[in-house]
């Protein structure tokens, strides 16, 4: 038996080397996807009923149909616009509020329990409320997304401001920086990593909130598609809509991740 290398697991060194390359990773991921889809396709109809599980071929067929008759874009646009609008409003509000509360700790302490209580409210409870107040149009969806993103952005920004090294602030003060200069040169750049983290996390929750709003009351959007298909016991439709969601979420998160990586080069 060859001796075990203490630092590494033995076995298939060529495979490991391959997987360390970018091409290797891509191939590995594709392989998993193909394997899963393959198993799914083979199992449906044979191991399980097509009715409940559908199959990749049927799902792609459905997606194709939706693309061709234009309904995919209509619904996708509805969901994405609700999500984007809510995201921007919520993020802006949350970041600003987070910075303000970060710079005014006394105010933060006074407001903390109220913010915490609002944050603890489950969105499922808020959704019908927004529908009653704002109607079943896009406004209630935007509100739901906005409030979800708001709290995430707020808390992460707040943590970020607190996390800025106080010695940096003191050092700048000793050099003669005014309070504004300290904010601009130390507090804001120092908080940015946390803000980005908050924004990245918020993407998935924003999408979820948009879908939730559509499930409760809507006539458009991916959530509507899910609800509509489910109501007709059309599992293919449900899966198709969900897969669209997954792709959206991945793309948006990836965009944010790359932006973050670029601006945060200094973190190594």
């Amino acid at each position: 038996m060859p001796p075990i290398d203490a630092g590494r697991l033995s076995g298939a060194p060529a495979l490991k080397a391959f997987l360390s390359t970018r091409a290797g990773v891509a191939v590995g991921r594709a392989a998993i996807l193909i394997a899963l889809l393959g198993i799914w396709e083979l199992a449906s109809g044979t191991l399980t009923s097509k009715f409940w599980v559908s199959s990749p071929s049927a799902i792609s067929g459905m997606l194709l149909k939706w693309t061709n008759d234009g309904s995919l874009w209509v619904h996708l646009r509805a969901t994405l616009s609700a999500m984007m609008a809510g995201y921007v409003i919520g993020a802006a509000g949350g970041i600003v509020m987070g910075l303000v509360l970060g710079f005014l700790p006394q105010l933060q302490r006074v407001l903390a329990p109220y913010i915490s209580a609002l944050y603890a409210l489950p969105k499922i409870a808020l959704a019908p409320l927004f529908v009653i107040v704002l109607g079943i149009g896009i406004e209630s969806k935007i509100a739901l997304v906005a409030i979800t993103v708001f709290f995430l952005a707020l808390y992460n920004t707040l943590d970020g401001v607190r996390d800025v090294d106080r010695d940096l602030v003191r050092a700048l003060g000793l050099m003669g920086a005014t309070r504004t200069e300290i904010v601009r040169k130390a507090l804001i750049p120092g908080t940015l990593p946390w803000i980005f983290t908050g924004l990245r996390i918020a993407v998935r929750y924003a999408l979820t909130a948009a879908i939730l709003g559509e499930l409760i009351a809507s006539n458009q959007g991916i959530g509507y598609l899910i609800e509509f298909s489910a109501g007709q016991y059309n599992s293919t439709g449900v899966f198709a809509a969900v897969s669209v969601l997954v792709v959206c979420s991945v793309i948006l998160t990836e965009i944010l991740r790359r932006t973050e990586a670029f601006t945060q080069r200094w973190r190594l």
């Binding site: 050092a171 000793l174 050099m175 003669g176 200094w266």
Partner: protein, 270 residues
């Protein structure tokens, strides 16, 4: 702060401790009967017991002592970052109120802005409104400073990419670039190799002489203190006490490279 104390120099045999001998107008920094206690978790930690220290204008004073005897606390008091529990801190005759931005403070822990490159970090003091400088002049001076501390080629690196010694050098450059009238230095050359240390010591004493800076320099290294300072204040091990204060009569400008070999150095070191 660690638990520590200095006792007053009352009865210390030193020469040059007597602040009264220095003309009032010449006293840059005065600590009178200064104590500092930190309260926390129901306990009171006394970091400094009554301390009297006077630094004359353009004087180079070295504080030498083991770790944790309150040297950093003393520097923080002079910088105005904290105020004494008892006693007074005077700067230019006036009581210190809040952060004193006429001192440049090089702390033990480097406070570089991690999101800025080396060049951008060094340029920070010149960006501030209180001494706004034109960009071209700023770039020139930054380049000079980088050359001075031996970091040529690293202008675009981020602090996370540098070694501890290199970061210290950036911090030094950042403080020296705006030539504050007083310099407080907390073991600035500790992390440097011997050769660079000598070079930096030489540059420091040249620059401080040229710009007529008042310097309070904290170090472990007695040899370094003697080579650089006009007056050395030595603290004994915990509980720290001013053990001796000596004038260094060696002529200025000092040649730090040769200083260790001179006769007086040996005698002073004893």
């Amino acid at each position: 702060m660690q638990r520590n104390s200095f006792a007053a120099a009352a009865g210390a045999p030193a020469d040059g401790v007597a602040g009264e001998a220095v003309a009032a107008t010449q006293r840059k920094i005065v600590l009178e009967g200064v104590t500092k206690s930190f309260a926390g978790r129901g306990r009171v930690v006394e970091a400094l017991q009554p301390l009297d220290l006077t630094v004359a204008t353009e004087e180079f004073v070295a504080l030498v002592g083991p770790s944790g005897c309150g040297k950093s606390t003393a520097l923080n008091l002079i910088a105005g970052l904290i105020s004494p529990s008892q006693g007074r801190v005077l700067y230019d005759g006036a009581p210190a109120t809040g952060t004193n931005y006429r001192v440049g403070y090089i702390t033990q822990k480097d406070t570089l802005l991690p999101w800025r490159t080396v060049a951008a970090n060094i340029g920070v003091p010149l960006e501030l409104r209180c001494r706004a400088t034109a960009r071209s002049e700023r770039n020139d001076r930054v380049a000079q400073m980088i050359e001075l501390v031996g970091l040529k080629g690293f202008e675009q690196h981020y602090p996370a990419e540098l070694s501890g010694g290199m970061r210290k050098r950036v911090a030094l450059a950042r403080t020296l670039i705006y030539e504050p009238e007083t310099l407080l230095m907390d073991e600035p050359f500790g992390a440097l190799d011997a050769q660079l240390k000598l070079l930096m010591q030489d540059e420091l004493q040249r620059l401080t002489q040229l710009r007529r800076m008042t310097v309070v320099f904290v170090t472990h290294d007695l040899g370094e203190a003697i080579a650089l300072a006009d007056r050395v204040v030595v603290f004994s091990a915990r509980p720290g006490r001013i053990r001796v204060v000596r004038h260094i009569p060696m002529a200025r400008p000092r040649d730090v490279f040769r200083a260790r070999f001179s006769e007086s150095f040996g005698k002073l070191h004893e």
